[in-house]
Symmetry: C2
Subunit: 323 residues, 2 copies
DNA sequence: GCCTATTATTCTCCAAATGAGTATAATAGG
DNA sequence: CCTATTATACTCATTTGGAGAATAATAGGC
């Protein structure tokens, strides 16, 4: 039986060079508060929480969970691995040592806001203002992004490349009578990066190029990682009951709907939303009602225990279709 | 602006311990030949190809691509990251250094089979015989797995745990009038591991416990990684046109259907399959026909260029529904 | 107390998608 | 020329999904 270690030695004549790596964990921690999706940040709210992966943890997942809970006193409900990055040009300064960054998505609730000086929550649409379509197509997208992306596509020299750019932009941003697909968060960010329209791509905008598009900046590639997390979450809520982790113990159906809409960045049809939620037996009435919002009082619901048990495999449907 | 490096130093009092890691790439390379899904292996076909991540690659993805193409002369069509593992008990012997394994899924075609002594292809159902439902529920599942899983669930002491085990087994394997969900490959493998029914879980079967269930063994956690890859692929073919990468340049619709069925491990309704493929404009006729199989000759098709262009975001539908 | 605005909740309707079966076409081989 | 076999084209019933209408229950102004 051939061992993996043996193989590695045999196949790499310069295995010494492959040793010098260190591993970092980067966390995208999401909560939804007052109908706004928010992300846990550090520093001047321009960095995602991250830290070294320590050897005494059983696994990456438990390492992340322990690390986040230690530093934020936020229990993490749901954790899922996002992506592992190791691109050479990731770190700005000339590090000899290569860093492997393993990113995770975590869901929680923003409860005991104890005003930490090192950690804070910030609405994720501050970083991606073009992603919020709940009040219609945002003007930033119409007035600023669209013309600049068109210009970028048109400035390509070769006709093939022009066509390719136009097509990719149209698909990602829903131009030419295409529908807006809220799942393409990462593709959109990467197109903006490629077009040098975000400040992270500091290729040319301070030397005569166009200035960056609105949207809060993050260090290194953290905004790309956040985009990855948002995209994953927007995909996931459509077929797995993860909204749970973001809700308080009891809630009204409208609150649940607002949470889903906040994540998806688009509105859903209320009666259809109710129909889907109820026919899947995801929730049960608590018996209480709530009459805050000036109208007929709403019934309070909680998630059913069985759903929590089947959580890992149970399906959910929402009135949001796949692109 | 606070740098990530600074943060890491500040937050870890023992950052020296977090340095000693090395990174490995592990590849799940899939091809479909004669209607059978196959995986590229090394050694006695009991290990997935793997090797050290080398610093001179631009990114993990390009590192893997270069590595696989160098060692197999198989161009990799489609590559996607699977998962990053770093559990402490992953390596058998007492390594001081921790290994981070980054696994990838790659799709290709098994063409120039040049009988390499170090690499070989093997049908993936050799490793997971209970996953092939194309000819109905396999007898291995009915006669061997079912009673053993039931026994394992019943042997739990506490009633709560018994109920929990029964439920998880029922969901994963489709007992109690539930449907078989072909996507739950990983959940099934992990349940068998937990129940010590696969040889990798060498807890008790050689010391009085039950012998392992049929299915070819792999070293370390390679079979789990393969299960992860199969699950991902079975999910992916339902909404993204990745079957392309596994097909020859031209093919008949039945060949395409057989490939999908091979991956999904279940049969699909032929007229409906054709309807979906054609109404999505995924393919176009070449004009030629093929009359090998003793019947009316079948038209040859190829994939349309536009689809290849939109590949990253385009959707596909198949007559396989989500669980 | 009555009217109005507001939200909650329930139904209805129609179009599209899906699952499953049937009918017809074109070849090879005896 | 008949039969077996596969390809291809239709049909039909059922389920889903999107969108709007109708009704119920509260608060607040008058």
């Amino acid at each position: 039986m051939q061992d993996k270690t043996t193989l590695a030695k045999k196949q790499s004549g310069r295995s010494d060079r492959s040793q010098a790596v260190s591993a970092d964990l980067i966390a995208v921690i999401i909560a939804v508060t007052n109908g706004e999706p928010r992300v846990l940040t550090i520093g001047q709210t321009n960095a995602l929480p991250s830290g070294p992966f320590e050897l005494d943890h059983r696994s990456l997942q438990s390492g992340l969970r322990a690390w986040v809970e230690r530093h934020t006193s936020h229990p993490l409900g749901y954790v899922e691995q996002l992506y592992t990055f190791a691109d050479r040009d990731r770190i700005d300064d000339e590090h000899v040592q290569r860093v492997i960054s393993i990113s995770y998505l975590g869901l929680t609730r923003e409860e005991q806001t104890e005003r930490s000086p090192t950690h804070g929550w910030r609405g994720w649409y501050d970083y991606f203002p073009w992603e919020d379509h709940r009040a219609g197509v945002p003007s930033i997208l119409l007035d600023i992004l669209t013309p600049r992306l068109q210009a970028w596509a048109d400035e390509a020299d070769e006709p093939d490349m022009r066509h390719d750019r136009r097509q990719r932009v149209a698909i990602a941003f829903g131009f030419d009578d295409r529908d807006w697909n809220e799942e393409l968060v990462l593709q959109r960010y990467e197109l903006l990066y490629e077009a040098a329209l975000v400040a992270e791509a500091k290729r040319n905008w301070h030397t005569g190029g166009v200035p960056p598009v609105p949207g809060r900046l993050m260090i290194a590639d953290h905004r790309r990682i956040l985009a990855t997390g948002i995209a994953r979450l927007r995909t996931k809520i459509k077929y797995r009951p993860v909204v749970f982790e973001l809700m308080p113990p009891t809630f009204t159906l409208l609150q649940l709907q607002r949470t889903v809409e906040a994540l998806a960045g688009r509105l859903v049809h209320k009666p259809n939303f109710r129909r889907l939620i109820e026919e899947q037996n995801l929730v049960e009435e608590t018996g209480e009602t709530m009459s805050d919002t000036g109208g007929r009082p709403a019934k309070r619901f909680r998630f059913r225990q069985t759903v929590l048990a089947e959580r890992t495999v149970a399906g959910t449907k929402l009135p949001l279709s796949r692109g």
